[in-house]
Symmetry: D2
Subunit: 348 residues, 4 copies
């Protein structure tokens, strides 16, 4: 088999760099091109010395990258830019996987409400698919042109809630989601909030009740229960490099119990390699998914208020970004989903 | 004025050491004695070299400490031990401030339910007072013999909720509290969970829905609204040394709004030196209370679900333990409440 | 006594902020004015919410600050700027303490060699004094107009070496100094190197053999032995907020031993409150000086190579910057040197 | 080809766990057995949940492990225990790779001096080989029964010094080595020094001038120059999980210069995949080798003292332990040395 020729647009951000790392270890891909606006003209190891000898590619422009006719182009860009790029270079890629937010929404109105503008090229969205593989893998067809790769928070949350919601073991009303993300989630761009002495030994909520991942979360949960779901979602900045843990609070429905919920999760995820249901009585920890594509879920109950407590964690850069993108690529090309993603978590 | 002669039982734990630090800087106290089971016979700087020259006291037994007839004895001990000690040495102290859990409950049944045994000496509880100063300072009388110093989580939560609850701006039903604590909160005792490589870059919930601080939280909230309040409470272990941040979710009552809530907090806390209401649009951060006795509160709303989001943070070792103990002592002896507690937060 | 009216130029950097924190707790000073180029027009708590209610001053320009006629002006500015400011506003201050590098050198040629320009106002240097108090306090006179506050690395190193050098117990040739500094030492300005995910879990040397603190170190050591001393100095960036630890390697002279060195240190520092000589067999740790003005020194030997190993540590923001500035101010005005500087280290 | 059947004795320590992780990803090995004294009878995921589904082996005794007749047994044990085990189970393994210190010394006297006892079974040492592959790979023969895997500090130091020493570009006298290691280097056993709040934001030297790795370092350096070399070695505890950086100071010999040294390193390591010589002007950083088997070396000079400054860093758990063990196994069995070790560093 010829290897898939891959390009990464925005390869000098954190998600881009993680993707480069994963593609270099993938047996069926050839990393052919990397682009960057900020570092165009330099080589990849000029920016990241750790890649010397394993990826010595020059950083080119996105135009050049598309013109090099990769089979798969991954984009890791701020909102709005990918859509234009995908349109401009249509025909120059067989698959584009966007790790940004341009192709995550079924409903243009929702996109417009949260991102402040309508779709520029509606037709692109017709052949695009949003995919958390464990929930949407069947939507990816052999000719899917664009995959909207999910956000990190929404991935941890949808995987954490699906079996309980689908089996009506919890109420879809009043769900509260308290998420905590490592600092790579805030990107590689310099800000005072992510300057080391200001972040280290610090902790705070941000965008409480107004984070742009909210509509993406609600879209997936609504699909699961086939009705509109609204959630309260508050993210926090956690002083670690990697990892997201979402603590999710929902009310048991009549007759549901922790053990029935546990059985539902066991059954729903029994064939899912990347989902790890932790034994009752133990707690999911971001340490146990670090550097891996696993999602670890633990279930707890507060009996005296009838509340199911779900903690769901992923590595925000892998299952929350680059790893899931590779997983989606694997599905699209008929590879085993695990290909290139079997790294055991680095527990320390 | 003669200085108050103070003793610290359990002075080699984190809360004990922080108290020693504070008492050494307090203008009206003399640190006269420190005790420790594990290090008895050594000097304080043998255990903590940082105190060389500023506190060279020998570590004695608790019996010896009580016999040295301190005015104020602070106890920082595991549950159950202080009660016995307070009884045995009755008459040998004018005030005992327990930083443990023995004197935090009005209702013996609740204590028994969560701690597995009834009170050993009921009469001691008759003249003991539980006090988060901003809520209970008037309960402390000139002859109060025992003060039950509040837990760290309950302090951050009660201060965060009081004005909204008291003014009926939120429902007292369905409150969800997601708390995150620095590792000093887990104590100085060695455990695998707090071994550096296992804690660093890690994050997890623990005792979800079953933490012993739950009844203490509910006791205070119930007093505020004069009816039984039940909450869902989940603590998490945060990879920082100090600080607790509680994110609290509650439903607005009819007619309440973020701005009316904000006004209620402003009014409730206008004379409280240690409470800092952050401007709307900003987020409380544990960095901004580090090493200080302040409690920082920020208010947020999720309009689309009608949810008030409160983040309340304290330094778990100061306002959450030793600082609040000093504040309670100040009240009991008629000192300005701020005495010895005016350190400006160490923001880095 | 009237309180000294103090102003801080460059109050929004880390050293400036730490100085503000210390001055607010100093019994004989009144913090009257703070200036900032970047944040002029905002209030101090706009930049640092932790100071709300304790320092609500507006951030003004440095011109305005000088015109407000403070007794003492502290400057925390990049190299070269203070000299101009001190000249321009001559007569508007009784004492100027520069925490930058403009007044640290006796020899203009050395300054010019390392900073690329000669002195702009030579006359200012005639009445300026460089002072690590434990070494130079007698140089500060009642009419000293300018104090050049030492650099952080040089402070840890000079205090660590003085007794051994002065007593000729080590050779002044071939001294190797390996220093490690917390990230606040790199300043509050944003850089990729100090972006949280790039600094956290990282460690590296920087400016190996060419750091600008080298001539300052050599100036002090040369004074001690009254001959030219050259050292090899390599700083490293340590992923902590605060603290410097310098590990210093020197050859014992004939007849010298660890115990004779230990006695020399004990004797040299017996009256120095801020110098802590750790017991033989223990190691100095930045934890034990955190947030304090102490310098902790431990002595070790490598018998098989005849090497004395000194580890000397300080809090880079306190004894290495703001605390030492306050200590110098205390000397100049005849206060007890410890005034405002008795905080016990925060060991966690 | 049949896969090599591998067993790990001491699989629940950090080095053991990292080895398990690497062996699970190695194409030519089958992880057949894991042993542990502390956790015997539990399964591997009981101790490390992160391995659920990828390594569900039971933790057995070392006797059982040897009796299961693995081809390769890796031992990660405290000093002295492996030698007995290797003797007792002779014939039950084709290769034993000891990650401890029992087979690191050519000279029994040195072992006895530093470890307090003579060899128990001298004959075992006759067919054992110490191997940092880049220096000693030719010593490994097809029938080598025991490989003494090098210590973490010695690996970083020997690789950092070899080309300069071998080419006589530096003096072998007066070498000073200042090393800093992440906390996994201190092991998984609980100690107060590695309790999170005591380690976090802390930094100190330990065993200055008397660390047991000193003789191992000197043995290798002495072999390189064919004469006895003595070094001054001071390790420090770095508050990160992984990584060692050694800063090495040596005097240039007559005529040597930074550029001639650089050329010597380029030439010496031109065919070494795992050695990365960083461009002049840049600094090696533990971040750039994290989770990988690379060793990154940067060269610097202090012209005014004629000193070469080498910084050499590795991941202490990979190139400093488990990765190097796999590399040695690859050599012994004729695999490509890189097999199973091509993970790109995780730079964040």
């Amino acid at each position: 088999m010829n290897k898939l020729k891959c390009g990464v647009v925005g390869a000098t951000g954190y998600a881009g760099a993680e993707l480069v790392r994963l593609l270099l270890n993938h047996p069926f891909t050839e990393l052919a091109a990397v682009s960057s606006v900020s570092y165009e003209g330099q080589t990849y190891p000029d920016v990241f010395p750790a890649f010397a000898g394993v990826c010595d590619l020059p950083l080119i422009s996105s135009d050049e990258l598309f013109e090099s006719r990769c089979d798969v182009v991954f984009t890791a860009l701020p909102a709005g830019i990918t859509e234009e790029m995908a349109y401009k270079h249509k025909g120059l890629y067989s698959l584009l996987i966007d790790m940004g937010s341009d192709f995550r929404f079924d409903d243009e109105e929702i996109y417009e409400k949260w991102y402040g503008k309508p779709y520029a090229h509606k037709e692109l969205h017709l052949n695009s698919v949003y995919s958390i593989p464990e929930l949407h893998r069947d939507n990816i067809k052999a000719d899917t042109a664009i995959i909207g790769n999910p956000g990190c928070y929404p991935t941890s949350i949808a995987l954490g809630l699906m079996p309980a919601l689908k089996n009506a073991l919890i109420s879809s009303d009043g769900i509260v989601i308290d998420s905590k993300s490592g600092v790579t989630g805030a990107g590689r761009k310099l800000t005072q909030e992510t300057h080391y002495p200001d972040t280290n030994e610090s902790f705070n909520a941000y965008k409480a009740g107004s984070h742009r991942h909210t509509p993406e979360i609600e879209q997936t949960l609504s699909q699961i229960v086939s009705k509109s779901v609204k959630v309260t979602f508050v993210p926090h900045l956690l002083p670690v490099n990697r990892g997201i843990l979402s603590t999710i609070y929902a009310k048991f429905t009549e007759g549901a119990s922790l053990s029935s919920v546990y059985e539902a999760y066991k059954s729903a995820y029994k064939d899912e390699y990347f989902i790890r249901l932790e034994p009752l009585g133990t707690s999911a920890n971001i340490r146990n998914v670090r550097n891996s594509n696993f999602c670890s879920i633990s279930l707890h109950e507060d009996k005296h208020t009838g509340t199911l407590i779900i903690t769901s964690c992923i590595d925000n850069m892998v299952k929350g970004a680059a790893g899931q993108a590779v997983q989606n690529m694997n599905i699209r090309y008929g590879f085993d989903e695990k290909t290139g993603l079997t790294t055991v978590p680095a527990i320390f």
